[in-house]
Symmetry: D2
Subunit: 116 residues, 4 copies
Amino acid sequence: MSTSQQPEELYAVAVCLIPMGLEVPSVGPQIAECQRILEKSGLTFHMHGYGTNLEGPWSAVTKAIGDCHAAVHAMGTPRIATDIRIGTRTDKTIATGQGNLGKIARVEEILGKDKA
Amino acid sequence: MSTSQQPEELYAVAVCLIPMGLEVPSVGPQIAECQRILEKSGLTFHMHGYGTNLEGPWSAVTKAIGDCHAAVHAMGTPRIATDIRIGTRTDKTIATGQGNLGKIARVEEILGKDKA
Amino acid sequence: MSTSQQPEELYAVAVCLIPMGLEVPSVGPQIAECQRILEKSGLTFHMHGYGTNLEGPWSAVTKAIGDCHAAVHAMGTPRIATDIRIGTRTDKTIATGQGNLGKIARVEEILGKDKA
Amino acid sequence: MSTSQQPEELYAVAVCLIPMGLEVPSVGPQIAECQRILEKSGLTFHMHGYGTNLEGPWSAVTKAIGDCHAAVHAMGTPRIATDIRIGTRTDKTIATGQGNLGKIARVEEILGKDKA
C-alpha cells in the first residue's frame, strides 16, 4: 500500500443494508448473502438484531460493503439503502479497547460496580 | 389510547448515542448511564459493540431516548449526537419474527442450509 | 410541561425514511406524504437529497416521525426502516447557532477565510 | 480497474462526521477541513444542516471519507464517529433520477400536484 493515501489503521464499523423494491417485506435471503461475503472477506464480524458489526482496515471494510451491494443487486434487488457507522481513534488500538468487544467490556465493568 | 394519534405498535430500534465536547475520547460512563435508564424503562434492550437495540411502543422508546439525552447532559456533556434506526412492519408482530431476535434467527436458518 | 420528564428543549434532527416491500424501487409518493405530514406539524423542516432535516421539541419531533410511519403504512407499505440523527446541546440555543442553518453558516464562515 | 471486483457505478451518499474528545462542543473547523478535502476530491457534494451529500464511484467516495478521517485526526481529534448512508440502484442512473437532485425533483413534482 506504499502509494496509497488511504489510511490503513483498523476501523470499527456497523453496517445495516436495506434492500428496497422487493415484492416482499422480508430480506433474510439478502442479509444471509451478505454474511457469506463477510465470511469470505476474512474480517472479524458479528451480526446482531439491527445490522452487523465488523472490524478491519478501511480498504478491506469498504471493499466488503461494496461487494455486498454488488451481490444483493445481482440477486435481483433494484435498490439498496445502507447505513454505516464508522469509528476510528488514535488513543487506543483494537488490542487496547478500541474494538467493539472492548467497548462492551468497559461499559459492563462500570455497570458491575453499581452492584458491588 | 383513545385520544392519541401516536402509533403504539411495537418498534424495533437501534440507538447509538455519541457524547461530544468531552475532554476525553472515552464515553463509557455516559453509555453506562444510558444502560441504567434503559434498565429502569422496562423495555427489552441489548447492548452490542456499536449501540444498543431495543424494542417497545413508540412512545416508550422515544421517552427512553429523550431521558438518555437529559441524563447525559446532566453529567456535564455539552453536546450529544445520536443515531437511531427504527423499524416497523405490518406483516409480522414481534412474536412472529419482527423483533431483533426473530430477524437473527431467520438469517441463521438460511445460512444453516448452506452447510446441510 | 412541569410534570413531564421528557426534555422539551429544541432538537435538530435529520430523518431518512425508507419504505420496504414495495414492488417498485421508487418511493417518491411515500416521501411526498411525509412532507405533507411535516407541513401540518408546524415544525421547521427542509428536505435535501438524502432525507429531511427538522427542528423542534422532542415530543413534537417524535410525534411527527411516528405519524409518518403510520401514514406510510396506511399507503400499503408493509415495512419501514427509518434512520434518524438527533442533536442536542446545552451550550447554544437554536437562536445562537445550534440549529441546522447556524451550523452551515459557521462552516461557511471558516471556509470564507480561506479565500480572504 | 479491470481486475477489481469493486463496483464502480455511481453511489449517492450522505456523510455526517462527528469529532469526539475535543474540549469544546463546536466542530466547525473540523467540518470545514472535510469540505476542503471534498472540494479537492472532484466529487459532486452539497453540505446541508446535518451532514454532506456526495455522489461518485464507490472507490472515490470511500477514499474521500477515509481522507476526511485522516485529516481530522491530524488536527488533534482523538476519536471520530461517522454516520454514512449509501444508496445504489440498478433501475436508474444519476442522469435519469438516481441522484440526490433527481430525488428532490421527483418529490416536489408530486407535491406540486397537490396545489394544482
